[in-house]
């Protein structure tokens, strides 16, 4: 028997949604404590940050890429609800490809940043924060790949596509964290 079809008093959210909500809350505390480390270290020492626009090109481009990819993720959710399976596949593919472009851009930026983890504390903070964000983007990409594979195998229907919704929410989260990090590390 299916554990999920027996009588029980559950919440009105799907099990996956509840789990994802808690995971994202936990991850937020993680990023928040990292940011606290950053802010406290920033107060201690001279921060070797240059705010030239040239330095901001790649991060700005990456921000645009990530924001566009969230639109793709959103469209994917809409597509499956309207049973447009080929559109679903297309949007999922777009989102994950844009995600990969983002990560590539990040890696390029890191290797040309002219600083290292063992420089003054800022180097460590920068790479740690951005690095963990990048890992989350990659996890999101993996999530999207799995969703795409399952979509192609016909696993989803307009009424049963929890994983697509969860994947999209995770993608929104990754973008939201990026906005905060971008502001903290590049603009402030």
């Amino acid at each position: 028997m299916n554990i999920l079809t027996e009588p029980r008093s559950m919440s009105r959210f799907s099990t996956g949604k509840v789990a994802l909500f808690i995971i994202l809350a936990s991850e937020s505390v993680f990023f928040a404590t990292m940011l606290v480390a950053y802010i406290s270290l920033r107060n201690q020492t001279v921060w070797p940050v240059q705010h030239t626009l040239g330095r901001l090109t790649i991060p700005l481009a990456n921000t645009a890429i990530l924001l566009v990819s969230t639109i793709a993720a959103w469209r994917a959710t809409v597509s499956i609800r309207e049973e447009k399976t080929s559109a679903l596949n297309g949007w999922l593919l777009s989102a994950l490809l844009l995600g990969l472009v983002f990560v590539t851009g990040q890696v390029y930026e890191f290797s040309h940043a002219g600083m290292h983890t063992n420089d003054q504390a800022f180097g460590g903070v920068f790479f740690t924060l951005m690095g963990f964000h990048g890992l989350h983007v990659l996890s999101g990409v993996v999530f999207l790949i799995i969703n795409l594979a399952r979509a192609r195998l016909g696993d989803f229907s307009p009424t049963d596509h929890d994983a697509i919704v969860l994947g999209t929410w995770f993608w929104y989260y990754v973008a939201a964290v990026w906005i905060v990090l971008f502001a903290a590390l590049y603009l402030l």
Partner: protein, 548 residues
């Protein structure tokens, strides 16, 4: 049959029953047992470490352990008892009981559950392997920077600690998510949140504490790892880092952590006392709210571990005020337990002895905490044996006693037979006496100026007599633990009588067989109140009839 089919069918056979089936199980009851057994083994190891320390400290200028060995042992003792004993024991009970208590067939994510257990076990073994790979971590369980930087801690001990903590943190986080989702999603019909057993409530609050506090620890140790291995400078003062950053990050986790350690035991005691008094828990809503309040307030008091670090007065006073405040919900619980017993019909089986012992000992630990929250007094008492006394009264007299109460209470459900009462009573009284002999004099030592974490002390400051008495107490505790081990194995060798409800209990786990079938309940029960079994056994006095 092809070779592959043969292999697969052989594997299936092998994992159907017997030893190997335990390695692939996703059944919450088996995973619960695995947690309980593993944590019990670590308890013996951690206890042995404590005994070694007490032997070293029994006399001044002790030469039993070298300074470095002592430092490794006190570090591993603390780390073990916290991460490898109390937390997984709670996880074990949570795993076994939560689905049963809420009338479900398993946890929400059974495979994740198994991953969580095996990650915990691997993390613990990994940490202990440090002993043979150049030395165990030796900077204390809260590992202050910059002592933990490579410059001052060159062996790999700290790296083992960091990796172990990351693994254990991961295991606890996914385990906690599993608990929370299970409680939200899989309750039996009629089982609203206001009817949840107290143990389920406290495990849920504990799980929320875990998922919100562990990330801070993860950050702290990740940054330390980067400092040690990649030359970063988070805690390296000379290069723009901050020594206090570690303390804030760590204690932001560390304080909720101590509530993670005590809340499950409070939940157990809140189950045992009503059953052995024959009455419902007094003031259920207040007890639930106080658990939530403790959880919430627990995030606001962390810097009371840092009163001697030179923070401004306003900061000190804020954290002092909050620390006083957190005593209020704790007091509410103690009064509720007393009121539950009031005019009840008390049965003093071993589970009840440990539950009452919990109340008595936890009270002492809590009152100690008040002393420590008073900032100017804390300036004298912090980092002394007074703190060691306080923490052991709440963690040993509290958490461990509570857990033993649960062990004696639920042993019949898990194994189909009770632990022997006679040996149980010996265990309780010897452990109670031993525990007080060890930790009561530590109040005196703290007040008399003995700092903590010293591998020896010189004669002539009045500390010798108390240290000696404490070592005697440790030996008595050792005997009590051995009695429990004997009881455990002797009881298992007896024939099972498979009583479903040996204690005349109130909650759903007693409705099914002992041990329960793999599917828990033939039919998912529906409930109308907080004590479904009480309602069944006493239809005229049913809670829902009285409007509760």
């Amino acid at each position: 049959m092809t070779v592959q089919t043969q292999i697969i069918s052989k594997m299936r056979e092998a994992t159907q029953g017997g030893f190997l089936s335990w390695t692939v199980t996703v059944d919450h009851k088996r995973i619960g047992i695995l947690y309980l057994l593993s944590a019990s083994l670590f308890f013996l190891v951690g206890g042995f470490e404590a005994l070694l320390m007490r032997i070293q400290l029994a006399q001044p200028d002790g030469k039993f352990l070298s300074p470095d060995m002592y430092n490794q042992i006190f570090t591993m003792h603390g780390t073990t008892m916290i991460f490898l004993v109390v937390m997984p024991l709670a996880a074990g009970f949570g795993n076994y009981l939560i689905p049963l208590m809420i009338g479900a067939r398993d946890m929400a994510f059974p495979k994740l559950n198994a991953l969580s257990y095996w990650t915990f076990l691997f993390g613990g073994v990994f940490m202990y392997s440090s002993f043979i790979f150049g030395g165990a971590p030796n900077d204390g369980w809260f590992s202050y920077a910059p002592l933990t930087e490579k410059l001052y801690s060159p062996t790999h001990g700290m790296d083992f600690w960091i990796m172990g903590i990351l693994l254990l943190g991961f295991a606890t986080t996914i385990g906690s998510i599993n608990f929370i989702v299970t409680v939200i999603q899989l309750r039996a019909p009629g089982l609203t949140l206001t009817r949840l057993p107290l143990f389920v409530w406290t495990m849920t609050v504990t799980s929320f504490l875990a998922v919100f506090s562990l990330p801070s620890l993860t950050t702290a140790v990740l940054l330390l790892f980067l400092d040690r291995q990649l030359g970063a400078h988070f805690y390296n003062v000379g290069q723009g880092g901050s020594a206090l950053l570690w303390q804030h990050l760590f204690w932001f986790f560390g304080h909720p952590e101590v509530y993670i350690l005590i809340l499950p035991a409070m939940g157990i005691v809140s189950e045992v006392i009503p059953v052995f008094s024959g009455k419902p828990l007094f003031g259920y809503p207040a007890v639930v709210f106080s658990a939530i309040a403790i959880g919430f307030l627990g995030f606001t008091v962390w810097a009371h571990h840092m009163f001697a670090t030179g923070m401004p007065s306003a900061t000190l006073l804020f954290f002092a005020a909050d620390s006083f405040l957190i005593g209020v919900p704790t007091g509410v619980k103690i009064f509720a337990w007393l009121a539950t017993m009031w005019k009840g019909k008390l049965r003093f089986a071993t589970p009840m002895l440990f539950a009452v012992g919990f109340v008595a000992m936890f009270l002492i630990g809590g009152l100690d905490g008040i002393h420590l929250a008073v900032v100017p007094v804390d300036w004298q008492l912090t980092d002394t044996y007074y703190v060691v006394s306080h923490l052991h009264y709440v963690l040993f007299g509290g958490a461990i006693f509570g857990i033993f109460s649960g062990v004696y209470y639920w042993f019949p459900k898990i194994t189909g037979r009770r632990l022997q009462e006679g040996l149980g009573k010996w265990h309780f009284w010897l452990m109670f006496i031993g525990m007080n002999l060890v930790f009561m004099p530590m109040h005196i030592l703290g007040v008399e100026g003995m700092p903590r974490r010293i591998y020896t002390y010189g004669a002539g400051r009045g500390w010798e007599i108390w240290n000696f008495i404490e070592t005697i107490g440790a030996l008595i505790i050792t005997v009590s633990v051995l009695i429990f081990v004997v009881n455990f194995f002797a009881s298992l060798r007896k024939e099972a009588n498979n009583e479903a409800d040996p204690w005349d209990g109130f909650t759903l786990e007693w409705k099914t067989a002992s041990p329960p079938p793999v599917y828990n309940f033939a039919e998912i029960p529906s409930v109308r109140g907080r004590r479904p079994l009480w309602d069944e056994k006493h239809p005229d006095l049913a809670d829902w009839k009285v409007g509760k």
